[in-house]
Amino acid sequence: MSTSSFQRPLGFLALLAVATALVLAALYCVAFVARPDVTLGIVQKIFYFHVSSAIAMMLCLSSGSLLSLVDLVAPSDRVDALARSAIETGLAFAVLVLTSGPLWARKSWGAWWTWEPRLTLTLLLLLLAAAVLGIRALAPDGTGRKIAAALASLAAPVAYLIHVAVAKWGGTHPMVLQGGGIQSPGMQITFRVALLAIALFAATLWTLRFRVLRLEQRLLNLQLEFSAQDVRQQREGGPT
């Protein structure tokens, strides 16, 4: 592990600064650039953050699953920290999606919740991610990492099948992106800015967690090294 990246967190600070600026810009666009939707009114503005959060969540969780698989095949502390921080970030965004989703759904579909493919998948992924992180914490010394990695790698293909199943079951999610539901240029620009802002926000959180986990790993290694020296010293000092 390179110590320099921790001592000189310039890259991270730059990321943080750009992400912050973009989030502010997105808020400005949402408030002043995009006009309220003709039929849905002001509530439609949740869309910009809801959809972006959903995309960020899917990216984080699928990366987490893939990285878990990599760690299972070729174990490495760095990959493990990347995978774990990805799943944690994905979980945070899943919470965002599931709070913003019903607010929008209430207005546009008239119900807080529908068993619609993407919403259902998000809910199940949230439960799975929470369970995987929980297992990792509760497994005996050192075994949690592999168990969590195995379950996380299984989750991606199963998530695909869940999506197929719920979609077949029938859903009413607005096909905004495919169908071109947002027509006005102001709305389109706002959506792009919001998407970029949320993506960078997710990257910032992910990087932050990754750095913390790497520091934790380093601390643990140092602690181990000290305890080994401790045992050696006792040995020399004590009667043999």
Binding site: G134, K146, A150, L151, K168
Partner: protein, 223 residues
């Protein structure tokens, strides 16, 4: 070699199950209880009870299939035999397969016993028995394999009794959705084309789990 060792371990589990009888008996009682609770929760005067059959049946099987799952592996801990059973010439695969087969046997017998009871309680008849049985077979197969894998992974984890369903049920969602839908359609005399999609999905799920579970298991236990 794989089949021979799996058979050896399966024979052992069958013999133990016949001698102690406990797990299977409770699994069956629990399944029965689920059906009764379903009737309490969902049956109303003046509404057709038969409409509740698919849901009651599948959820009962999902729940009762979880009861004895952890026991399959914690039983190996009792006499300290887990590692002895894992270190075989065919790797840890025979152990996982024998446990999955045990689970399949238990849940299969439970299904055959509970299905007529559900039909009687909910005053219904199977419109297309072949389709429903095929869906049940596919569902139980995937559930047994995935259940055995998750139980094997969680055997030494704290709070495993709570964590097992928390992980297992979301992972089983495609099977449950497809199983319930296929049963609903079958009961409504739907044409084969409508049913094939759901059965195909279950088949794909089973293929995925059967292919991946042994590899993941071996990767994690590594003894």
């Amino acid at each position: 070699m794989l089949l021979r060792l799996t058979w050896l371990l399966l024979q052992k589990d069958l013999r133990i199950a016949l001698r102690s009888r406990e797990v299977f008996g409770f699994m069956l009682l629990f399944a029965l209880l689920c059906v009764v609770v379903f009737a309490f929760g969902f049956l109303r005067e003046g509404e057709a009870a038969a409409a509740q059959v698919p849901g009651a049946l599948w959820v009962t099987l999902l729940f009762s299939g979880t009861v004895g799952l952890l026991r399959l592996f914690t039983a190996e801990d009792e006499g300290g035999t887990l590692q002895l059973a894992q270190r075989t010439l065919a790797g840890p695969h025979p152990l996982l397969l024998s446990k999955a087969l045990m689970q399949l046997l238990f849940s299969g017998v439970t299904t055959l016993l509970i299905l007529p009871i559900v039909l009687v309680f909910f005053d219904a008849a199977l419109a297309q028995p072949g389709v429903v049985l095929a869906a049940l077979a596919l569902g139980l197969l995937g559930q047994a394999m995935l259940g055995a894998l998750v139980a094997a992974l969680l055997v030494h984890v704290r709070l495993r009794e709570v964590l097992l369903p928390l992980v297992l049920y979301p992972l089983l969602a495609p099977l449950l959705i497809a199983g319930v839908r296929a049963t609903v359609l079958a009961q409504a005399h739907a044409p084969a084309e409508a049913l094939n999609g759901w059965l195909g999905l279950m088949l794909a799920y089973d293929a995925l789990v059967l292919a991946v579970a042994p590899w993941l298991h071996a990767r994690v236990v590594e003894v």
